[in-house]
Structure formats: C-alpha cells, structure tokens
C-alpha cells in the first residue's frame, strides 16, 4: 500500500512539477511582453525555470484536492508560492548572504548575470508572487486571506526573519559567539524553511475551505513536514555529493551554520527527522486514503537524495 502510494507520489510530484513549470513559463513570457526590461526578464526566467521539485506547489495543490478543490486556483496559488521560494533562493545565494555559485546544477543569478541584477530579480519575483496571489481564481475574501497569510509566512517574523537568525548564528554580527541552543535552532528553522512549507499546506486548506478541525490538522502536518524537510536538507548537505544535489555541499559546517545535525550529531538528527515525518503522517489520521499522497510526501522527506 505504502509502496504504491510512494510510486504514485513520485509520479504526481513530477506531473505537478511539469504543470507548474508550464504555468510559470507562460507567466514569465507574458511578463516579458510588457514593459519588463529584457535583462530582468531573462534573469527572472533563469531563477525560476528549469528545475526544482516544486514541492510547495505540490503540497498546496494536493491539500486543496484532498478537500475537494481541484480547480485552477490551487495551481495559480502554487505558482505564487514557488515564485516566492525562488526569490528567497536568489537573495540567499548573494555574495553578502550565503555566497553560493551553484543552484540546481546551474550558476546562481548573480553569477550568470551580476549582483545588482540578482537583487532586482529577487525583488521582482517577490512582488510578482503577491501580484499573482491577488489574482488567484477564487473569491476576494479567499484571495485576501492568502495574501495576508503569505505576507506573514514570508516576512520578518517568518522566512526573512529565519534567514536573519541563520546569519546571526554564524556569528557575523558579533552577537553569536556561543553556538545556538537546540531550541533556538528549531525556532530558526521553523521560520526559515518551515513557515513557507506550512503556508503551502495552509493555503491549500484555505482554497479547499477546510473546516476548523481539518485546518488545524493540516497545519500540524505542514509544520511537522517543514521541520522534517529542513533537517533532511541539513543531513543531505553532509551526506550527498554536489553532483546529486546540484549545489555546493558541506557548506553548513564550513560556515558554522546552526543546524540540528551540528547540535545533535548525524544519527540523532536522523531519528528526529523520522519522528517528525511520523508526526506529520499522524496529523492526517482524520483523513481517509485520499490523503495518501500527502502521507507519501512526508515519507519522501526521509528518503529523498536531492
């Protein structure tokens, strides 16, 4: 049963990734036909197209589908979340931030273009994410709730704040001399990675007009999944090779990044990751077999190699 679900998860993830890729490509082509300067349009395409698992749109679309909403809205909202995710990668890769040259097996935007273009590309993608979310095919009340939640998840108390804590933990502002305590690392990661993954699930719940109890279960699922995903990422940074991952590896330790792998050691970090994935699956106990793909997504966080 679980094997079959996992096979269909892989197929469905790939299917959604193609749908999202096509929708984003069409969106960026439309944008380029307007007043958008050519170099900026090219850099936006470089940042967004040709790669990525599109896990956030998948979670959003599958959550909405679980609740009976399989219209166009979830795809559009999924694209908005993906644009926001892509902006965060472009800015995180900047020389003043994580200073990465490689992303999804290709040069990062500031390497393929230049630093100013990368800053503006991130700004443009962040702005486009909100513009697109405001245009989701749904009632105005639902759209405004999506925009408001996205702002909270992506902002200073969410993703951006998490990135700030991450840089602080490297000690670069002279305030992080002692390594972060476990609970601070958890807070950092819940903000940096967890908030947007959890938002993707919650946005699906909003579009699917989840009842309060369903929404609360789905929120627990999203939060546990987000935490499992970040630990899995940190484990991959230690264990995978740059070739399979498409970006530089073993950079966390070199930079003194605050990860649970560093705090707990590799084996305990794996146990924690697995426990979180189980907790995510348990949060779905109120749903029937139609939640199979979301359950498989939780297992995927444990098993993925890239």
């Amino acid at each position: 049963m679980s094997g079959r679900e996992d096979a269909s998860f892989t197929a469905q993830l790939a299917f959604v990734a193609r749908e999202v890729e096509a929708a984003l490509a069409a969106l960026l082509v439309r944008a380029a036909a307007t007043e958008v300067p050519e170099r900026l349009a090219a850099a936006m395409r470089h940042a967004v197209l040709g790669g990525g698992k599109r896990l956030r749109p998948f979670l959003l679309i599958e959550t909405a589908r679980l609740l009976g909403c399989s219209e166009k809205g979830p795809l559009t909202a999924g694209c908005a979340v993906e644009l926001l995710h892509c902006y965060s990668l472009v800015h995180d890769d900047l020389p003043a931030m994580d200073d990465d040259d490689l992303r999804r097996g290709r040069p990062t935007v500031h390497k393929a273009f230049d630093e100013a273009t990368a800053i503006l590309t991130g700004d443009a993608l962040l702005t486009l994410a909100f513009e697109l979310m405001a245009a989701v095919e749904a009632d105005a009340e639902i759209r405004i709730e999506l925009v408001a939640f996205l702002g909270r998840a992506a902002g200073a108390a969410g993703m951006v704040g998490g990135q700030m804590l991450d840089l602080s933990a490297e000690g670069r502002f002279g305030t992080g001399e002692s390594p972060l305590a476990e609970k601070d690392i958890r807070r950092l990661q819940a903000m940096k990675t967890g908030a947007l993954l959890a938002f993707a699930v919650e946005a699906g719940a909003i579009l699917g007009r989840a009842r309060p109890r369903e929404r609360s279960s789905l929120r627990q699922y999203g939060e546990a999944l987000g935490a499992a995903f970040q630990i899995a990422d940190d484990i991959l940074d230690v264990e995978a090779t740059s070739g399979t991952l498409g970006k530089a590896t073993r950079k966390d330790a070199a930079k003194g990044k605050a990860t649970l792998v560093a705090a707990l050691g590799l084996e305990r970090a794996k146990l924690e990751r697995d426990a979180l994935a189980r907790r995510a699956i348990e949060a779905l106990s109120g749903f029937d077999e139609r939640a199979g793909l979301l359950r498989a997504a939780a297992r995927f966080t444990i098993e993925r190699q890239a």
Copy 2:
C-alpha cells in the same frame, strides 16, 4: 488663494507625515514584539522612521479625502505604500546598486548595519507592505484591487523594472554604450519613480470609490505629478547641497545616470518640470476647491528645496 492653499498644503503635509510616522512606529513596535529578530527589527525602524516627506501617503490620503473617504483605510494604505518606498531606498542604496552612504541625513542601512542585514530589511519591508495592504480597513474586493495594483506598480514592469533600466543606462552591463534617447529616459522615469507616485493617487481613488471619469482624471494627475517629481529630483541633484538634501548630490552626472537634466540641459528640464506640474493641475479641472491640496502638491514639486 494659491498662496493660502500652499500654506495649508505645507501644514497638511507635515500633519500627515506625523500621522504616518506614528502609525509606522506603532506597526514596527508591534512587529518587534513577535518573532522578528532584534537586529532585523532595529534595521527596519532605521529604514522607515525619523524622516521622509511621506508624500506618497499624503497623495493617497488626500485623494481619498477628495472623494469623501476620510476613514482609517487611507492611512493604512498610505503606510503600506511608504513601506514599499522605504524598501526601494534600502535596496537602491546597496553597494551593488547606487552605493550610497547617506540617506535622509543618516547612514544608509548597509552602513549603519551591514549588507546582508540591508538586503533582508528591504525584503522584510516589501513583504510587510503587501501584508499591511491586505489588512486595509475596506471591503475584500477593494483590498484585493489595492494589492494587485501595488504589485503591478512596484514590480518588474514598474518600479523594479525602472531601477533595472537606470542601471543599464549607466552602461554597466555593456549594453548601454550610447546615451539613452529622451523617450527612453521618460519611460525609465515613469517606471522608476512615476509608477509608485501614480499608484498612491490611484489607491486613493480606489478607496474613495471614484467613478470612472474621476479615476481617469486622477490617474492623469498622478502620472504627470510623478514625472514632474522625478525631474525635480534630478534638478535638485544638480543644484542643491548635500546638507539641505540629506543625501549625496551630483552623483547622477558622476555615474552617467540617464536624467532629463543630462538630456535636455538644466533650463529645458525646468521648463518640462513646470509644464508637467501644470498638466497635473489641469487634470484636476473637474474637481472643485476641495482638490486644492492636490493642486498645491503639484506646485510643491516645482518649488521644493529638498
């Protein structure tokens, strides 16, 4: 008459600036009480508080008031536009962009803090602008229209795109060897500065539920005002001193920036600025004396010294 209007314009601009300052301060204090990391919250306050004419909120609030809407919505929407304006200043000042050390008489964010903090501060303010716009005290339909329009005005086909063209015109991407033609400079400036100023007016029209003809007049007013304002800025860069302006002057020429002052010469640029201000005032001919403050705002673009 016009002298009285100008005096009351100055008083009202100062009054709105205090209201906006207080509202933004309260907002940023509330934000700091949440999960926002301390250093990020401090940098956000540095970027937003303690200065600025708050011209965009003024235009938004006065336009809404002209149409009979003097509730809380315009102040909130005005704060959202101002947050967006402040983010653009933080990113524009970055070393990879215009590389400015001084803003409103104080060190820029990357000077007072550091480059990574400045990038994240801009990202956080941009995100907060949308979150706040989604929370404006108005119907969901109106809020979603505001968010969508803000996205368009601020994005790749608006403000961010204009900044990209501005950098291209410096020749830094090897594509701007010949100086821009006048019409390209106008396009650049309409996007870089005009779009957000025009949005401020249009947002006031949306909140004031302007009828189509009123809205069209107000759009013309906003566009002419935005263009006049940018030329006035370029003239000030040549004529003012760093002390009165609170930022470095004569940087445009040194950098080979594409300005109408460079293209037309100082005297013709002043004539153009004045003609645009008159056009802005003419666009308001369908409104009675209640549009006096907006007319005075157009004259202010000509007369301001900072």
